[in-house]
């Protein structure tokens, strides 16, 4: 049993408070991406690639510094570049590291039909277990951030693991470690949330970004990757970051009411047919009356 599951909340025959209450660790991990200090150097992209052993896929120059249009099955971490002119005419180059957001309420997991192909750990990491993945791609539909990608060669779906192999032994994810400017931070969710709010506050008060804020969307019950944005009111500016992401309604309907209705209907149908047979029985052919035996 892990520490997470042995956290003591009540003790029998014990007077006073529970020792350690209030001191217990928070296990929820979180990446903080401060887009206002991102320099778009792509160190995170390469570190991710190198650590995870994916090497080369062909890219094309597309009138941008951006490596490719979207993340790929073998490219989990992509900085999206957007030129933006503010109302006062000043230029901005908005750069946002795109990767799995590790939603608290993950749409991929909700949509996945394969037993144990997607797991969510107590620390918040949503992890694809490729051994169990059947490659159906429902997670792709379920994700409001367009993150999981199908590998035609492996016939499975891949995405950022938040370097759970590193995190599990007390190392930070590869992208976090590489980030030269400290635009990426890693820690517990509450610490990162606080750091993000402090930074957003500084941007509002010191740097002339009155709309600066933190992106931790409630639609998916928060994410384990949060952003500081210069303009939190317009997340779409940052390479299409959804304003209000949530598990798609259709996935919810499909996995909820439709599933139970369908199951009920199928079961009901089988039962109904059985009852029909028992009550009414088979249809049998009848002899042809003589008038119809004669040729006309």
């Amino acid at each position: 049993m892990s520490q997470a599951s042995t956290e003591i909340v009540r003790i029998s025959g014990h007077a006073g408070t529970v020792p350690g209450a209030g001191l217990n660790r928070e296990y929820q991990v979180c990446k903080l991406v401060d887009t206002t200090t991102c320099i778009g150097c792509k160190a995170c992209e390469v570190a991710c690639l190198e650590w995870n052993g994916y090497t080369f896929s062909e890219t094309k120059f597309d009138n941008s510094y951006q490596t490719m249009p979207e993340t790929a099955w073998n490219y989990w971490n992509l900085i999206k570049f957007n030129e933006h002119e503010r109302d006062d005419g000043t230029m901005m180059l908005l750069m946002r590291k795109d990767q799995c957001m590790h939603c608290e309420d993950p749409g991929c997991l909700a949509a996945c039909p394969a037993d144990a192909a997607i797991v969510q750990y107590a620390n918040g990491i949503v992890d694809f277990q490729e051994a169990h993945c059947i490659g159906c791609g429902y997670c792709i539909t379920g994700c409001p951030f367009n993150i999981p990608k199908f590998s035609p060669t492996a016939r499975k779906v891949f995405k950022c693991t938040l370097c759970n192999d590193r995190v599990s032994v007390g190392l930070e994810p590869a992208c976090i470690k590489a980030c030269p400017t400290g635009c990426l931070h890693f820690g517990t969710k509450s610490e990162m949330k606080e750091l993000a709010e402090t930074r957003a506050d500084q941007l509002r008060s010191q740097s002339g970004f009155p709309d600066a804020g933190v992106y931790d969307p409630v639609g998916v019950s928060g994410t384990h990757v949060i952003y500081v944005l210069h303009d939190a009111k317009n997340p779409e500016l940052y390479g299409g970051l959804p304003r209000d992401p949530h598990i798609p309604l259709s996935v919810r309907l499909w996995k909820g009411p439709l599933k139970w209705l369908g199951n009920l209907a199928m079961l009901g149908g089988l039962v109904g047919l059985a009852l029909h047979y028992m009550r009414i029985g088979p249809k049998k052919e009848e002899p042809i009356p003589p008038e119809d035996r004669k040729p006309s």
Partner: protein, 193 residues
């Protein structure tokens, strides 16, 4: 690509102690973590060869430096102790592994003869002998002992040495020692441009 694919699908249960550090409750039947690829690798401290920030890097190699083993690079990442980069690396530093494991590396001496349209292989011994002969020949032909004003010049204007940006201090110093002693004055370096 083959190797990395294998690596990716190779899963192993991580021991309970390690697993609990960040609160994993591993039920191996459901979730198995990729093994840490540097778990038993040897760490060598080096300096990134690219820009002049001089980031510390850790080179992870397979093998424990035993006599019968040729180490093999598996990973490179920033040295967290280095005060300047504190473990961070830029996209170039992050790809250093590929600089070491690069099929495009030169691995044998070659020569292109006058009028040649391709490279020919040459042994180190022949190559260095020929270079030494060229050096002496050109030096002897172009050496200026006295200048036009009959002052001591002792310089060789027929040979130039241009040095690179990643050479160590010690190499640079050896170049200065040897090349100045040959009388070279066309001695320049990336430092100029």
């Amino acid at each position: 690509m083959q190797a990395s694919r294998r690596e990716f699908f190779k899963v192993a249960a991580v021991g309970g102690v390690a697993a609990t550090i960040f609160g994993f409750d591993l039920k191996p039947a459901y979730a198995q973590l990729k093994e840490l690829k540097i778990a038993r690798a040897t760490e060598t401290r080096s300096t990134c060869p690219y820009c002049a920030v001089g980031c510390g890097v850790l080179i992870y190699t397979i093998g424990d430096k035993a006599k019968n083993v040729t180490p093999q690079v598996v990973h490179v990442e920033g040295d967290p102790d280095h005060p300047t980069n504190r473990g961070t690396l830029c996209p170039k530093g992050s790809s250093l592994e590929q600089d070491m494991l690069n099929p495009r590396r030169l691995t044998k001496p070659q020569v292109r003869r006058p009028g040649g349209t391709d490279w020919q292989d040459i042994s180190w011994d022949d190559a260095l002998n020929e270079i030494a002969h060229w050096t002496k020949k050109t030096r002897d032909e172009t050496f200026i002992e006295k200048d036009a004003n009959d002052r001591l010049a002792n310089r060789c204007e027929g040979i130039s040495f241009i040095g690179g940006c990643t050479d160590t201090n010690e190499f640079n110093y050896l170049v200065v020692k040897t090349m100045r002693s040959l009388g070279l004055v066309y001695l320049e370096n990336q430092a100029r441009v």
